[in-house]
């Protein structure tokens, strides 16, 4: 609408402009001044109309006052300025040509109404807004409280439902609150727990630092600590816990409470103890085992000055016989009885008895006076063994040999002490047994112990301490040398030359037999080639054969066939130059799996000899199954032929075996031929080859050469 200049509309607008300019600076509106003026224009028009109405419309005044509040003129100054403006300009711009006096009076009444309307609206708005914000604050408070309650409820649920025990106490130690898990662990009720103090829970097994840590924590010098702690339950049992105690501080950092978290480790501890017990005790006798004994011995040997130790190493005499004759169950019962008796011999503090294994036991005594005590201990043990042991209605006499080592702590290690005891025990045993001997360093150095040899075996192989002697195998028909048996020897640095009976069982036991056997095979096969290169073949046109012993352990070793093939190929030696000797006992009950490698070797052309034939349960029917081409008769058969006339039964047996062997297409070799008469007898009986001192003792390979030459020239 375009206002006519200085027409009523134009004047109304000018009034609104003046009004808006006056009030705008004190409004809070986000509108611009021109926008604000647009908001005032209808109000100005309303006032203008009210001014002109027949009767003064005070409602209009009130409405305009209220409208100002709606336009965000909430500052009272806006009312002042509005009233000033209306007072000065409403009549002037909007009064037209009416009566001035009347108009002024009307304007005045409109202003009063505006003031009332403004005040009323402002009051309404203020109250409404105050109520709105108060309600919002309440609502927010409610939400926060609700959230807080939920959090607390959740924390309470966590507290109550936790599987670990939780307890809170003040810094004086008064227990304030504990959860169900803790009560269950302690086995007490909430009532009983109330009023308890943390300091009451001392226990004999408390670690020394337990209560120092506690004091530091409640003094605020430590934030938390962690340890294993035992508690006594009312029923007398012990509760073991994994305990963590933390200091709780308030918002200002002041120590306020202590919080204990504990996990019941009783079961785990028991299990650990049991596992530890099982790991350190012998299952059969319940005595401490080798592990625990070594721990104790080590401790005793590292004890301080003035401390000594005494050790009795006991090995039962003839236990193997009992085991073999009465069976393992009886042997075990005997061991249990012996263990019980030994246990009763070592009851003083610092004494212990342990089972090392088999029929070997040790008794240890420690302290300053073991020099005299250890003899008493050994005597007590010997005494304890005196009474016969009753097993299955039999009275068994138990005897033992004891090696005693005694000395000051701090000089020797456990292995050395035990070795000395072992040696000494063997000395007692070789002196007839049923006695004790005191260790003697010189005797120790001389003594050959299984223990010592066993530990030295691997080094001996590395150092080349083994060598091989060869014993010729002679053809009984023409006396020619057909080959030799390889016999391994150990040139021990201290003990000199040791025969296979001294160390082969040990090597079998430790598994060293496999590399050792391979070495023997290698050496022997190489020797066979050397012979062949030098002397060609024997008189029968066959190469000189080499006989090598196979131990039971080698027999089951998976590399046997391949190793043998490799060795032969590397040496360039034909398989038929090799004969492997296997003892009859190694093949007793042999199944096909065990025989398979032997079969393969036999198929290749390697001869298999059944050694010591006639000593085991010579299962003749079994012979058909075995891939064997030679029987080596045990020397026990030939021993009787050294006399003249020979035992006719023996002769019959040998004759029978030979005829059986030949019937099965097996050659027969005899061992232990020591006289010419023997040799002649065996030849008549049909044996094929022989070995023994009559021909030659085992010796270096050159000796065979001499024999072969003699043979060739003879």
């Amino acid at each position: 609408m375009i206002a006519e200049p200085d027409g009523p509309e134009d004047r109304l607008r000018r009034f609104a402009t003046i009004w808006s300019r006056a009030v705008f600076p004190v409004t809070s509106t986000s509108a611009t001044r021109p926008e604000f003026e647009e908001q005032l224009l209808p109000l100005a028009r309303r006032l203008s109309e009210a001014l002109a109405a027949r009767t003064v419309d005070t409602d209009a005044g009130r409405a305009v006052g209220a409208a100002l509040v709606d336009a965000h003129c909430t500052d009272p100054e806006a009312l002042t300025r509005s009233l000033d403006c209306v007072d000065a300009y409403l009549v002037l711009y909007c009064g037209g040509d009416g009566d001035r006096e009347d108009l002024r009076s009307r304007s005045s009444r409109l202003q009063h109404a505006m003031a009332a309307g403004f005040a009323h609206a402002l009051r309404e708005r203020t109250l409404a807004e105050q109520e709105a914000i108060a309600r919002a604050a309440l609502e927010a408070q409610g939400l926060v409280a609700q959230a807080l309650h939920a959090t607390e409820a959740r924390f309470r649920a966590v507290f109550e439902g936790a599987a670990i025990g939780i307890g809170i106490a003040d810094l004086d130690g008064n227990v304030l609150q504990v959860n169900g898990a803790l009560l269950r662990m302690f086995g007490i009720t909430d009532q009983t727990m109330r009023g308890r103090r943390v300091q009451e829970w001392t226990h004999a097994e408390d670690a020394p630092q337990t209560w120092t840590l506690y004091d530091e924590l409640v003094r605020g010098e430590r934030e938390h600590y962690h340890l294993e702690k035992a508690f006594s339950r009312p029923d007398g049992t012990v509760l073991w816990t994994n305990l963590t105690v933390s200091l709780l501080r308030d918002a200002d950092g002041e120590p306020q409470y202590q919080l204990a978290l504990m996990e019941d480790t009783t079961e785990r501890r028991l299990l650990n103890l049991r596992l530890r017990y099982e790991a350190t005790h012998d299952a059969l006798t319940g005595l401490p085992n080798r592990t625990l004994f070594f721990e104790r011995l080590e401790k005793a040997l590292s004890a301080g000055e003035g401390q000594r130790f005494g050790l009795c190493y006991l090995d039962l005499d003839g236990f193997k016989t009992i085991n073999d004759s009465l069976g393992h169950a009886a042997g075990d019962r005997l061991l249990v009885e012996v263990a019980d008796r030994l246990q009763s011999c070592a009851t003083a503090p610092g004494e212990m008895v342990a089972r090392l294994g088999g029929d070997e036991f040790v008794a240890l005594t420690t302290g300053p006076d073991t020099e005299s005590e250890v003899d008493d201990l050994a005597a007590r043990i010997m005494n304890a063994l005196l009474a016969p042991v009753r097993i299955d209605g039999r009275e068994l006499t138990v005897r033992g040999s004891i090696g005693i080592v005694e000395g000051p702590a701090g000089e020797r290690g456990p292995a050395e002490v035990l070795r000395s005891a072992d040696i000494t025990m063997y000395r007692a045993k070789s002196a007839g047994g049923n006695r004790f001997e005191l260790a003697d360093p010189e005797a120790d150095a001389r003594a050959i112990t299984r223990h010592g040899l066993t530990t030295q075996l691997p080094v001996a192989l590395e150092r080349g301490e083994f060598f091989i002697e060869y014993q010729p195998l002679v053809h009984l028909g023409d006396g020619s040398v057909r080959g030799a048996e390889a016999l391994v020897r150990w040139l021990h640095p201290q003990h000199g030359v040791l025969g296979p009976d001294r160390f082969i069982p040990l090597a079998e036991h430790t598994g060293l037999i496999v590399p050792l056997g391979r070495w023997v095979l290698e050496q022997s096969v190489r020797q066979a080639r050397a012979w062949r290169e030098r002397y060609g073949q024997d008189v029968a046109g066959d190469p000189l054969r080499i006989n090598v012993n196979l131990s039971p352990c080698q027999l089951t070793h998976p590399g046997l066939v391949q190793d043998t093939v490799d060795i032969l190929e590397r040496a360039g030696v034909a398989p038929d130059a090799l004969c492997l000797e296997v003892t009859e006992s190694a093949l007793i009950g042999a199944d096909d799996d065990l025989l398979k490698p032997l079969r393969r070797l036999a198929e290749m052309g390697v001869d298999i000899a059944l050694d010591d034939f006639g000593t085991g349960y010579s299962n003749l029917a079994n012979l058909r199954r075995l891939p064997v081409s030679v029987l080596k008769l045990d020397r026990s058969f030939t021993q009787s032929m050294q006399q003249f006339p020979a035992d006719p039964v023996d002769l019959k047996i040998v004759e029978g075996i030979v005829s059986l062997a030949h019937g099965l297409n097996l050659a027969v070799t005899v061992e232990g031929v020591e006289t010419g008469a023997q040799a002649e007898q065996l030849r008549i009986l049909g044996c094929d080859t022989a070995q023994g001192w009559y021909y030659a003792r085992p010796g270096p390979p050159e000796r065979l050469h001499e024999l072969a030459l003699v043979d060739a020239t003879g």
Binding site: T32, P34, D75, R135, A136, A137, A140, V144
Partner: protein
């Protein structure tokens, strides 16, 4: 019920709130004596603060209208405070019926009040969250219900960043939000500054101290520092200016009509590429 991370341990109306102080400056009565007391103290140093807030509010209104004219229908107003009048949803939904608006504030009273005001408005919502944890804002169910982040959004950070200390990494927070927004989104921002205040800084410091006292420190930043919030945005004309100078609505706009306090601080709008 989960206790939201933002929720204070309790609501203490004897502690002033910047949202309610702001309301007081704008002539509202959504405030308590503690708020008014703090506001009056600040006004002892800077008597024109109401005018500054008013200008800030006027800018917000113009900027929302601008955004609506640009075709934006989604508004995320973080630090919305107490809705007094000329609220974003009123302006936006008037310009574009159906425009979606989400208010975000960490003041639980402001949130509760906003909830009451927005009751029955399906296109507007309020979320209790904190600008310092932008991912929580973006992941909020109400935000996801109302705002489609694949389309442009007007992100309003009006008079809030000067309450975020550098230690809380306001630039990082703004960048995280920027990265979540679709191209063509707008950043609408105002920030307090000593520049433009018709007072020597020493005196304005007095007002700043009042905020420090109420444990809601006011961080005054320079124009350059404020401009850095727009990293990754192209400034909309006329750039970062004092609030009244940003696209005044009438051609006849006369700076002399404005109170000198209206020119305090900076306002600007950026458009993301």
């Amino acid at each position: 019920m989960e206790r939201p991370a933002w929720a204070p341990r309790n609501i203490d109306i004897s502690v002033p709130s910047v949202a309610r102080i702001y309301d007081f400056y704008l002539g509202g009565s959504h405030n308590f004596e503690a708020d008014r007391e703090a506001a009056r103290r600040a006004m002892e140093f800077a008597p024109g603060l109401p005018k500054t807030m008013q200008a800030n509010r006027a800018f917000l209104r113009r900027a929302v209208r601008f955004a609506a004219d640009e075709g934006i229908t989604q508004f995320l107003d973080i630090g919305s405070g107490i809705p007094t009048f000329g609220n974003v949803h009123e302006v936006a939904q008037k310009a574009r019926p159906g425009a979606r608006v989400v208010y975000v504030d960490h003041d639980p009273v402001a949130v509760a009040h906003s909830q009451a005001v927005l009751e029955g408005n399906p296109d507007a919502g309020v979320v209790a969250a904190d600008l310092r944890k932008p991912q929580e804002i973006l992941a909020n169910a109400e935000v996801q219900r109302l705002i489609d982040l694949n389309r442009p959004v007007a992100l309003l950070l009006v008079a809030i960043l000067h309450f975020v200390e550098d230690a809380d990494d306001p630039y990082g927070a703004v960048a995280e939000l920027r990265d979540a927004l679709a191209p063509g989104s707008l950043l609408v921002l105002t920030h307090a500054s000593f520049e433009g205040i018709p007072l020597p800084p020493e005196r304005a410091e007095g007002a700043v101290d009042v905020y420090k006292d109420i444990r809601n420190p006011l961080i005054m930043r320079s124009r350059d520092e404020i401009a850095r919030f727009f990293e990754g945005y192209d400034m909309v004309e006329p750039g970062l200016v004092s609030p009244p100078r940003w696209r005044p609505e009438t051609a006849t706009w006369d700076p002399d009509d404005e109170d000198p306090w209206a020119f305090a601080g900076f306002a600007g709008v950026g458009r993301s590429a």
